[in-house]
Amino acid sequence: MFPIVYQRQLSASVFEMGVTAPAIARKARAGQFLMLRVDEHGERIPLTFSDWSAEEGWVRFIFMRVGKTTHQLSHLVAGDSLVDVVGPLGVATHVEGLGRVAVMGGGVGAAVAYPVARAMAEAGAEVTVILGARNRELLILEDEFRALPIKELIVMTDDGSAGEKGLVTAPLKRLCEAGEIDSSMAIGPAIMMKFCAATTKEFDVPITVSLNPIMVDGTGMCGACRVSVGGETKFGCVDGPDFDGHAVDFEQLMSRQRVYSDIEREADADFSKECSCHL
């Protein structure tokens, strides 16, 4: 059992949670993820570390309520426990010797961008962070990013309710055009990463993307998480989750993410019927 020690709601559908997991906390690094199960009937789902403390023995993650498991998770509070937490999984994000780098976090992707930007800055990179959200309500971690030793934070919203109005690709394009970045990293919905990759490609600026294919075990055993990168099949969980954004087949990734949409929606609808919260 992994006790929940911390829970906080960041927006209408985004939550942060901390659990006691000393062995995992000692090894966690930026860009890596964990797999968890809520209860004995639960699915294994992957979530990326948003923070951790080796000294205090906890790890945190931020999740968006999208289906049954994240829905159940959103009902748990400090004092409850998760049956399983495994990690750290995946290859840590490469943060050394990056020079000037732009980090894009779209939606809940900001949660992953946070430790990545922090690790890059700690490793000496000059980091520009671009956060994108649909509106002010959905913008997360803005204060936390402002507290990091980064060069600049640019906020973009679809409706202009915070920061500039527009998509993250607009400032990304400006930075590329001005020759102000040597490389970049995008974390967020597949479609956002796809457009970031297209933007940087024009200027030959390298881009790393953090992929989120559907997973079962997270340890290389099943191949559910396979993605096409440069025409080769890779396993997201052990070869990634970070890949060269210019080589990724995003269409396939998006298609594979939809494989269970219909049946999952049923399961969540069943659960919501019994559930007292108003999703």
Binding site: K27, E43, V86, G87, L89, V216, D217, C222, V259
Partner: protein, 481 residues
């Protein structure tokens, strides 16, 4: 004189029966294709005794050599003949900690039963079925009345076991007999390895695996799930900070292989590992009571000819598929699956498409709609007697299907070896060991599929047990003074 021979000497001479081999009752094929309940129903006591009585108690029991762990088959059968089941179980467990499992899944027809003298003239003694019956008999007793191997005096030494498959479990049990403290680390949330996530319920009920594991816990084996060695701890952490005196690595060969044909990443294409894991480990067949989904295909094509392919095909059928095709490159004679499994698959209505090789998987809107296959023919046998499959020109045809399951075998998962650069592995990533399971790294031993490549449950158990003995010797030799 051993107690067994002693007992035999006092009893009137055993008169073997000449009855034909006792068949084991099975669930009806039509009924069973709709449920995950076990297919084989096992012997009753009368059947077991009748079958045991067919054994002629050879002076030179050749059956024993056929068993990879050399179970004293003659003696355990003698125990059944004489009605001393407790002794029979003790004889079995002396060599095999999981008889209820091996009695079900061992390829007996190629091992012990192939070496039984009766096989030469007719039908061998059904050794596997007797083993299963005894194993089940033992498990049907309360925990405190089961046959528990004696645990040794605490040695003060600690051994870590990586992986809770048959190799790891056998190693752990044996180490307890020597009195060493044992902690088993398992990366998944449930122990058992392939016994839990691979072999389906209808062939090996999970309650049996669970009960066998409980026994190990009673023996004092500590089991820690949710730990990926190579990630949560490295091997060096275990030998350093975590304070273990030795490590046994039994992490299996769990990395699935794919065909490398176009369309393989379409939705509806699974590795057998994923398909079986979703169904067995995550209980997707009880979705939405359990949260993990699996595609319930209407027409399913399974690629491969081994036990894994049979398991996947029969599982797909049970999930409600109307048609399940087994697509294999060679002919039925070359199929590596157990005859019994092939027979069961046929009975359950699996269609065999032999001498076919997948060339492409085709789809619409991201989902599978069919598989293009090429017809094959076999060449004349070469010097080694092997007949190679070759393509028949312009013979492509399409099999309509909405799900494809690829059961081509597995390779070594590099997760652990990558984080232990000084551990010697072969060019294909398998851990290199000597005969006793010792690796090139002091204090690190290995066995099972990670050393041999995909093999069998009993071979993995044998390797785990042998390594435990080597670990015991190594601990003795390195005793802290």
């Amino acid at each position: 004189m051993s107690p067994v021979e002693d007992a035999a000497a006092e009893k009137p001479r055993h008169r073997p029966s000449r009855a034909p081999r006792t068949p084991m009752p099975e669930r009806d094929a039509r009924e069973r294709a709709m449920t995950f309940d076990e297919v084989g129903l096992g012997y009753t006591e009368e059947m077991a005794v009748a079958e045991a009585n067919r054994c002629i108690q050879c002076k030179n029991p050749t059956c024993i050599e056929g068993c990879p762990v050399n179970i004293d088959i003659k003696s355990f059968i003698a125990g059944i003949i004489e009605g001393d089941y407790t002794r029979a179980i003790a004889v079995l467990k002396e060599r095999n900690a999981l008889p209820a499992v091996c009695g079900r899944v061992c390829p007996q027809e190629e091992q012990c039963e192939a070496s039984c003298v009766l096989a030469r003239k007719g039908e061998p003694v059904a050794i596997g079925r007797l083993e299963r019956w005894l194993g089940d008999f033992d498990l049907s007793c309360d925990l405190e009345h089961r046959c528990a191997p004696v645990v040794g005096e605490p040695s003060g030494r600690r051994v870590a076991v990586v992986g809770s498959g048959p190799a790891g479990l056998a190693c752990a049990g044996e180490l307890r007999r020597f009195g060493h403290a044992v902690t088993v680390f398992e990366s998944l949330h449930a122990p058992g390895g392939v016994l839990t996530y691979g072999i389906p319920e209808f062939r090996l009920p999970k309650a049996i695996v669970q009960a066998e594991i409980e026994m190990l816990e009673v023996m004092g084996v500590e089991l820690v799930t949710d730990v990926v060695v190579g990630a949560t701890y490295t091997l060096d952490d275990l030998l350093g900070e975590e304070g273990f005196d030795a490590v046994f690595v039994g992490n299996g060969a769990g990395l699935p292989m794919f065909l490398g044909v176009p369309g393989e990443n379409l939705n509806g294409v699974y590795s057998a590992n994923e398909f079986l894991t979703r169904v067995n480990l995550m209980k997707a067949y009880e979705f939405p009571t359990y949260d993990t989904p699996v595609a319930r295909g209407r027409k399913v094509a399974v690629v491969g000819g081994g036990n894994v392919a049979m398991d996947a095909a029969r599982t797909a059928k049970r999930l409600g598929a109307e048609e399940v095709f087994l697509v294999y490159r060679r002919s039925e004679d070359e199929m590596p699956a157990r005859r019994e499994e092939v027979h069961h698959a046929r009975e359950e209505g699996i269609e065999f498409k032999m001498l076919c090789s997948p060339a492409e998987i085709v789809g619409r809107d991201g989902f599978v709609t069919g598989m293009v296959a090429t017809r094959m023919e076999l060449t004349e046998p070469d010097a080694s007697g092997r007949r190679a499959p070759v393509c028949v020109l312009d013979s492509d045809f399409t099999i309509e299907c909405d799900t494809v399951i690829i059961a081509l075998g597995t390779r070594a998962n590099p997760l652990l070896s990558q984080t232990t650069p000084d551990l010697e592995v072969s060019s294909r990533g398998y851990i290199v060991t000597d005969e006793d399971g010792a690796t090139n790294k002091p204090g690190v031993f290995a066995g099972g599929d990670i050393v041999t490549g995909s093999a069998t449950v009993i071979l993995a158990m044998g390797a785990g047990k042998k390594a435990a003995q080597a670990i015991d010797r190594w601990l003795d030799a390195t005793k802290r003074s």
